[in-house]
Amino acid sequence: MGLLKKDILDVDSLSIDEIQTILDTADGLKEISSRPIKKVPTLRGKTVILFFHEPSTRTRMSFDIAAKRLSADSIAITAGTSSMVKGETLIDTAKNLEAMAPDIIVMRHSAAGAPYLLAKTVSAGIINAGDGMHAHPTQALLDMMTVREEKGQIAGLRIAIIGDIAHSRVARSNVAGFTKMGAEVRLAGPPTMIPQGVDTLGAYATYDMDEAIEGADVVMMLRIQKERQRSFLFPSEREYAARYGLNRERLKIAEKDVLIMHPGPLNRGVEIAPDVADGPYSMILDQVANGVALRMALLYLLGGGVRNADHH
């Protein structure tokens, strides 16, 4: 079992079968994290570089733990510690990384498309851990894993994604993934946060939050970035919370067993009320736990699956 791909750059380029394979593999690997000895030798002798050109705690740690549980050697370099601060170009940095023969490079970058440039330059497998506003495929896959685990299947579900759609790579990748797997996705946010040509993403968009969450099986809240106030996207956190924040009252129109999701970190009391974040329907910490399993699956499939076997 494995993937024929060299890289995981976005969700759009994954087939339904590939997504199923990834989710099935993640389901199988999840159990390792609950063992007393949380380590298997699967990727022993493999090198994983965590190349983070943008601040990240959660995603980087999730990949790091995933690599270590599979016995891969993982090394993290961040923008502050890499020579890119000394003026080295991305391609030169990539060639230098390549020269050290890593098997997989996990990359986060503030510029959309940067992992594509890296993938063209190096022969190691590239996993996109978030590029600008473009894509965050591992987040979407772990979200799909979480929903599938709870609901049994994704097809036919109604998913609402609320918040700053225009600037969200999580939203883009989740729309691509959930619609590909047969769910219906509705997006909601103020007009300042709905991108031009949103139809092209394949989801229905509305300015009315209630319209999006009515009858929803999953409500996914996006983190509101306070600095967006400066680009005039919303007037205040107070007004945003009132119009687009998720609270218990609002949830009444969703399905009874609705799942509440959030990619984190939370702005409690802004996009999500604390009692909802901590409530019985909240999947927020399950997402984090599944994130490790899902990333183990990707490292395994890229680093030790069919592609690797072919080389021996």
């Binding site: 170009t89 510029a111 959309a112 440039l117 600008g132 894509a135 991108p195 031009q196 040509g197």
Partner: protein, 427 residues
């Protein structure tokens, strides 16, 4: 030196369109002779060179009024010499170079340096455009009198707009006394914070978008200031249907406005950015299919007067980087004519209109000598409109290769380029 260009279709829009022979002695045209017409100025056997133009068009030399030559300051991207060679190969006999060099061309010294370098090569004519504001800083007039005396033929802050409307008013007013044309890079910077056109492609790629209004707002302001000051203004690189609507309206009102577009705006759309192709990144950005259609229509109906390349060489240092970080601009001198001929092939323009846009009008707008006439300078372009070839940027004359047209199959190109009777390019 005597040259005869024999048997071509001599086409100078509004003046000549017939199969004729052009006689050149030294730097001048001394005869344009039809079969069985007036006796030629010299006997064919006394010619040093006879260029057969059978099946070709003999046009007034093409003029590119918007080129970045990068010298002085960024010679690793282009030099005056490499730019001139690219221009000659593209069929251009005159090019106008923008002032955003290092140092900025806001002085007679830089203007003279450029002219001097170009003259030493005895090839394509180079006409510098001076900075509208000192140092392109947008806060003081530069010395237009000195610039004009040194040989500058226009002024602009190209690369960025003159954001201060009071300064732009004074730029226009002051230019009038000097008699030098103002060229505007019309862009409202507070709206133009994207790296490509706003729309579906930007949304899919997660790239920030710049709306059409970022251009048209400033085009409308510039038209208002041209009207206020009764001073002609030329709008550079028009890319949107809203700008075109404003220019069309202004022309109908008799406001002295002229406009250019670039081949990429009538050829490509923002879909070319997919997937993160930095050779499709320029400013203004490639727009929607509706805008491309509007640009084509505006060329046909005369709203847009000129085709100019906005030739903007960049090296891999500026282009082999993430899309957000890539420099704006593409090279264009060697593909402009072929892309223009595609419009003729598609029935958008007549050949005569294309020559107006690429030779006659740019020369008229900037007050350069042009046209094919006896006693005039022998600047002309022999165009073989049937030659098929594949464009290969790596084999081009420009020092840079940043073009989205690499590998394109074209029909039609410059067979031969003559400047002041000298053959500066020949296939």
């Amino acid at each position: 030196m005597r040259i005869i260009i024999k048997g071509g279709r001599v086409l100078d829009p509004g003046h000549l369109d017939d199969i004729m022979d052009v006689y050149i002695e030294n730097d001048l045209i001394t005869g344009i002779v039809e079969k069985g017409g007036a006796p030629p100025p010299f006997e064919a056997h006394t010619a040093d060179r006879i260029i057969s133009a059978d099946g070709c068009i003999v046009s007034p030399g093409l003029v590119d009024m918007h080129v970045h030559l990068r010298e002085p300051g960024e010679e690793y991207k282009e030099t005056i010499e490499s730019g001139i060679r690219a221009a000659a190969a593209g069929g251009f006999t005159s090019i106008c170079c923008m002032p955003n060099t290092k140092p900025v061309n806001d002085s007679k010294e830089v203007t003279r340096y450029i002219i001097c370098q170009a003259k030493a090569l005895a090839s394509v004519r180079v006409f510098p455009i001076g900075a509208a504001s000192r140092g392109l800083a947008g806060d003081a007039l530069s010395e237009y009198g000195e610039l004009k005396d040194a040989g500058a033929v226009g002024i602009t802050d190209d690369g960025k707009p003159v954001t201060d409307s009071q300064l732009m008013r004074r730029v226009l007013e002051y230019s009038k006394s000097i008699g030098i044309r103002v060229i505007s890079h019309s862009e409202e910077l507070t709206l133009a914070n994207g790296v490509m056109n706003e729309g579906s492609t930007a949304t899919r790629l997660g790239l920030s978008g710049t709306p059409n209004a970022a251009e048209s707002i400033m085009v409308m302001r510039d038209i208002a200031l041209a009207e206020l000051t009764h001073t002609p203004i030329h709008i550079a690189h028009v890319s949107t249907r809203e700008s075109i609507r404003a220019i069309r309206g202004a022309k109908a009102q008799g406001i002295p406005v002229s406009a250019e577009t670039a081949p990429h705006y009538f050829t490509l759309t923002d879909a070319a950015v997919f997937e993160y192709d930095t050779h499709a990144k320029m400013n203004p950005p490639l727009r929607s299919p509706e805008d491309r259609q509007a640009v084509r229509k505006a060329l046909a109906d005369g709203t847009i007067d000129a085709i100019a390349t906005d030739h903007a060489p960049h090296s891999g240092l500026e282009k082999q980087v993430p899309f957000d970080e890539a420099a704006n601009g593409i090279i264009g001198l060697e593909t402009s004519l072929s892309l223009g001929l595609r419009l003729v092939e598609a029935g958008v323009l007549t050949l005569s209109q294309l020559i107006e846009k690429m030779a006659v009008n740019p020369a008229r707008i900037l007050g350069l000598a042009g046209g094919l006439r006896i006693g005039g300078k022998a600047d002309l372009t022999v165009i073989d409109s049937s030659a098929k070839y594949q464009y290969n940027a790596a084999n081009g004359f420009s020092k840079s290769r940043n073009t989205p047209f690499d590998g394109w199959e074209f029909q039609g190109r410059a067979q031969c380029t003559l400047v002041a009777g000298r053959i500066v390019h020949e296939i």
